[in-house]
Amino acid sequence: MAGLTSTLSRTWTLTNQRPTRSDIGFLHWTEHTKHSKIHHVIRRLWLLLSILALLSPLGACAREPTTSVHLSENLLTEVVWPPVREDGVWAFGFDRRLEPKEDVRMNASLLNWLEARTGLTYRLYVTPRDGNVVDDLCSGRVHFAIVGTVSYLQAYHRCGARILVRGLNAEGEDTYRAAIVVPPASELRTIADLRGRTFAFGAPNSTQGHLIPRLMLQQAGLTLADLRAYTYTGSHAATANAVTSGRFDAGGLQDTLASDLAARGLVRILALSEPYPSSGIVAGPAAPAKTVAIVQQALLALDPTGTDAAALYHWERSEMPRGFVLARDADYEDLRRIARDVGLLEP
């Protein structure tokens, strides 16, 4: 019986699929005879073997295919790289926003959707933590990038990257705002009251955490020199912690997070900015115009809350939860100016 199961196992290994009755017959009778009597005997043998295999204690195990592997032989002592797998043609970069694995899963789901939509192949490129997606875009390492406004303005400034689409927020608007928040018990009432105070910005390249709050300060007649101290916390979460903990008198946050915190009584919104064009997807100089047009048309058709919801991974956490609208470079003129003023476009 063991011999039999071994034979069956070898058969399945060779064919890499479940055996059929004809496979068994071919295994035992390598000569292709069509003699009806022999086939008759084979059918009877198959019946008998099936019954015995069912009754055998090892019968159940033998039905699952196995792969023969030697764990103590042919050992590779050098560094072993996994087998190379063919990857997509058009590379997408992205601004880090959440955990790396979440960013990857979310953006990868968009690329999978794009593959199905356009018939082109894509690959997701993760910019190293010490790297910059603008560099990847302008160097041609990636052809497209999912970025915030600052990154777009920098890429446009450096290598003429084109904005293709910009996102619609949860309310369906293609703009977003920034908020300057203070602790609930703060005596500050206007932005002008921030003179001589401490201020927490988010990441230097953050639109809502740095660029728009800088514009709001500028419009109120304040510069960094008017603040007693300021810092770049690196993220909106860190800015919120800095303000709620009282370590800073005020901070610049994305409007949605500020509203949540204010609703829970953790902060008070001191001022809310004008709406400005939201994050979007840009194409680098390495992307051909025809491919850019295909990707742009596909993205405009994305319906994250409807028919395409199942294909996307937690897309509601993105900055474009309701999809995209067409974006024009002129919409970013105000932000480009303040960005230039604050030195984000240097060199």
């Binding site: 204690p57 592997v69 103590s72 050992l75 072993v80 694995k101 990868a108 993760v126 190293p128």
Partner: protein, 781 residues
């Protein structure tokens, strides 16, 4: 599939039959052991199956959980390329989880980080990349350490990063073996116990069967009153009751069989006694068709002794014409088709005589062989009688048909044609003819049937058939015998020459009217019966011809009578016209003159009385002439002399009045004393004589006429003879609308009406003699 398996198992068991123990006890014990062992194996298999499924499911769930947890914890490190964190995580996974044989992972930009201390096994590269995002059921690996299930997981969907865990399946196999050993041990113990119990119970259960077997053996040795006394209610008790019933049935059946055998022997004996021939013919093997048994009646039919027929082939006593039918009947009996039974075959006995047998048969067992029981009955005489009866019927039918044909009022040709058709049908022939002699004695082919050629082919009556005409004897003529018969040159409608024919005379009232011949295209023996039939038909045809002739004569007379009646009516009209004319021209004018005369007398008496006597005298003369004229008319109509003075004087007066006034000498030989005859006879004779006298006066140009009247015995005869120019009576009668012809016919008809004869003899230039003879009845005298 199940049917195939059962069939196969049945064949194996039948082949193993000789290897199985013979004793029932041993067989039962062995069967119970086989059942227990089989049950043990089935139980082991079932338990293993259930256990394996559960353990496998548990192992897979555990592996999936561990792999997912490891993947989630490594995802960020794989993205960032943090090799140290990855190495630490995979090491911890192997170290902290029992049964995990290995773990390894790699990211998009990292090498494979693994837990193998001596290097990564190259064989494991074949499990890469994982075939799905989630761990799934894993991939079963057969390694030198036993079965290992590899779970692969790609935590970063969209990036080439995987985590793999290898989990040993040794625990599953160990548990399986442990359970299998336990169940098999239980099976062995159960098998021993079952064998012991089965042996004991089978001994108990088979004891009644052993006893039953002994009783059956005694029954088989002839002890039919053997019975078993076991209480019913169980299988053996029922079997014993069935045995007792069977023994009773056998006893009854044997008794009935003995009675039946005795009856069968009696039946065969009785059948042979009444002449029923019975033979048993072998129906199988090399002796097929030979007699196995014949009874004395059958042997007597064949003209042999029974012993002489045994072993002989049944076909040897059958007529060759009956062999095919006999074989077909035999085959029908074999196939159970008895529609043709009983059948009739012809047997040829020892002396060559043929016998017609009415037979039937059935299949029986005889001396251990299948045999045909052949029952025969000699129906030769019955057949002969039936044939004779049929022949007579056919003759009678033919005669009847001929009689019907000749009995109809048809023309002679049509009667002959029908009669010929009927006799040919009766004799089953197709060709025949009838010659009839005409009035002048010349033969005439009056009817024929089935002939392609007409009478030109015959040389009648110079041929042999003419002898029949002369001798009035039937004759059979062989056209090929060189007797001068030319009938063979006459062909039937199929174009074949007529080789033989039978000829009979056609007679009526002893007179031969012709011959009747029927012919055959082959030489055929016309037997006496057929010749008698032909002769009878010949007589019938003769009578028919005579009848036809009489019928034609009658028809002719009828035609003449009708024409005569018309002539009489016409003559009456003419006579009336003549009388009217004479009354008008003669008597009428005279009476008118008399009236004028009387008027003149009347006028004269008043105006000139002296002329009255003269006028009256003239009137008297005129009236006398008128009276005379009236008397002549009356005499022409019917002379009163005939009524007043009788036939003799009336004839005398009329002859003198009509002939002597014309200068013709009348010699009367009419005795005055002749007695008076009846009115109708006298009228008939007077009218005949009147017509004859008128004809003589008008046409004969005679000088002397002799009239003679005689009443002798019971007849009256009147003869009138002249010496005139004479005439041709036949021609006169044949002429239509001839006054003389009608006169002759009228005389003839008057004589015939009274049963008399009228003869007229005349030739041109020879005068004419007329003779009328009338019978006198009692009342006529």
């Amino acid at each position: 599939m199940v049917g195939l398996g059962l069939s196969w198992a049945g064949k194996i068991l039948r082949r193993m039959e000789r290897w199985l123990p013979r004793r029932l006890t041993t067989r039962v014990t062995l069967a119970v052991m086989v059942i227990v062992v089989a049950a043990g194996f089935i139980t082991t298999g079932a338990i293993n199956q259930v256990l394996l499924q559960n353990l496998r499911a548990e192992s897979i769930t555990s592996g999936q959980t561990l792999t997912l947890a490891l993947g989630e914890s490594l995802a960020n490190a794989l993205v960032e390329g943090d090799l140290a964190a990855v190495q630490e995580a995979v090491n911890a996974a192997v170290r902290r989880n029992q049964g995990v044989v290995y773990a390894f992972a790699f990211g998009p930009d990292t090498p494979i980080i693994h837990t193998f201390p001596d290097g990564f096994p190259a064989d494991l590269l074949q499990v890469l990349p994982a075939d799905r995002e989630q761990p799934g059921e894993g991939l079963l690996l057969r390694t030198e350490y036993g079965l290992v299930r590899d779970f692969g997981y790609r935590p970063l969907n969209g990036l080439p990063a995987e985590v793999h865990l290898g989990i040993s399946q040794a625990r599953i196999v160990a548990v399986q073996r442990q359970v299998t050993g336990f169940v098999l041990a239980l099976t062995a113990v159960g098998c021993l116990l079952a064998a012991a119990v089965a042996y004991g119970f089978s001994r108990l259960a088979t004891y009644p069967l052993v006893e039953l077997t002994r009783r059956v053996q005694r029954l088989g040795r002839g002890h039919l009153d053997e019975r078993i006394d076991l209480p019913p209610g169980d299988e053996v008790g029922d079997l014993a009751a069935a045995f007792n019933q069977m023994a009773s049935d056998i006893q009854t059946a044997i008794q009935q069989l003995q009675v039946s055998e005795a009856g069968y022997r009696d039946l065969l004996t009785a059948a042979g006694t009444v002449g029923e021939g019975i033979a048993l013919i072998c129906d199988e093997g090399p002796d097929e068709g030979t007699f196995l048994f014949v009874n004395r009646a059958f042997a007597r039919l064949a003209g042999f002794e029974p012993a002489e027929l045994l072993g002989a082939n049944a076909a040897s006593i059958l007529h060759p014409d009956s062999l095919a039918a006999a074989r077909a009947a035999w085959q029908a009996i074999r196939s159970g088709d008895r529609a043709e039974m009983p059948g009739e075959f012809t047997m040829v006995d020892r002396h060559g005589r043929t016998r017609i047998l009415e037979t039937t048969g059935t299949l029986v067992e005889y001396q251990g062989r299948r045999a045909l029981a052949w029952f025969t009955r000699d129906v030769t005489q019955r057949k002969a009688r039936e044939e004779e009866l049929r022949r007579r019927n056919r003759e009678l039918t033919a005669l009847n048909a001929v009689a019907s044909a000749v009995g109809e009022p048809l023309p002679a040709d049509e009667i002959l044609k029908r009669a010929l058709h009927q006799i040919l049908s009766a004799l089953d022939l197709t060709a025949g003819w009838i010659f009839v002699l005409t009035e002048n004695g010349q033969p005439h082919l009056a009817a024929s049937q089935g002939l392609a050629a007409r009478s030109e082919a015959f040389a009648f009556p110079e041929c042999p058939c003419g002898q029949v005409l002369r001798e009035n004897k039937p004759r059979i003529v062989d056209a090929t015998a060189g007797e001068g018969c030319l009938a063979q040159h006459a062909l039937d409608t199929s174009g074949q020459p007529l080789m033989c024919h039978a000829t009979v005379p056609v007679q009526a009232r002893g007179r031969t009217l012709g011959v009747l011949s029927v012919a055959a295209i082959s030489l055929r023996a016309f037997d006496a019966a057929e010749m008698n039939l032909l002769a009878a038909v010949g007589q019938q045809i003769g009578i028919a011809l005579e009848n036809a002739r009489l019928w034609e004569e009658l028809r002719q007379k009828e035609r003449v009578r009708s024409e005569l009646l018309a002539q009489v009516i016409r003559a009456q009209e003419e006579e009336r016209q003549r009388i009217a004319r004479e009354l008008h021209d003669g008597i009428g004018q005279s009476l008118n003159a008399l009236v004028f005369g009387l008027n003149a007398v009347s006028t004269a008496l008043s105006q000139a009385p002296d002329m009255a006597p003269e006028l009256l005298d003239r009137l008297r003369v005129s009236t006398s002439d008128t009276v005379k004229e009236l008397q002549e008319v009356i005499y022409d109509l019917r002379p009163s002399l005939l009524d007043d003075l009788g036939l003799c004087r009336a004839l005398r007066w009329y002859a003198e009045e009509r002939l002597q006034k014309r200068g013709i000498e009348v010699v009367l030989d009419v005795p005055e004393e002749t007695r008076r005859l009846s009115s109708e006879v006298e009228t008939a004779l007077f009218r005949i004589g009147q017509e004859a006298i008128t004809n003589i006066g008008k046409h004969a140009q005679a000088h002397e006429v002799h009239i003679r009247l005689r009443v002798e015995g019971r007849q009256a005869c009147m003869e009138i003879q002249d010496d005139g120019v004479g005439f041709n009576p036949g021609k006169a009668l044949a002429e239509d609308n001839s006054r003389r012809g009608w006169g002759l016919l009228g005389m003839q008809e008057r004589a015939a009406l009274l049963g008399g004869q009228f003869v007229i003899e005349s030739e041109p230039g020879r005068g004419t003699r007329l003779c009328v003879t009338l019978p006198l009845k009692e009342g006529n005298i």
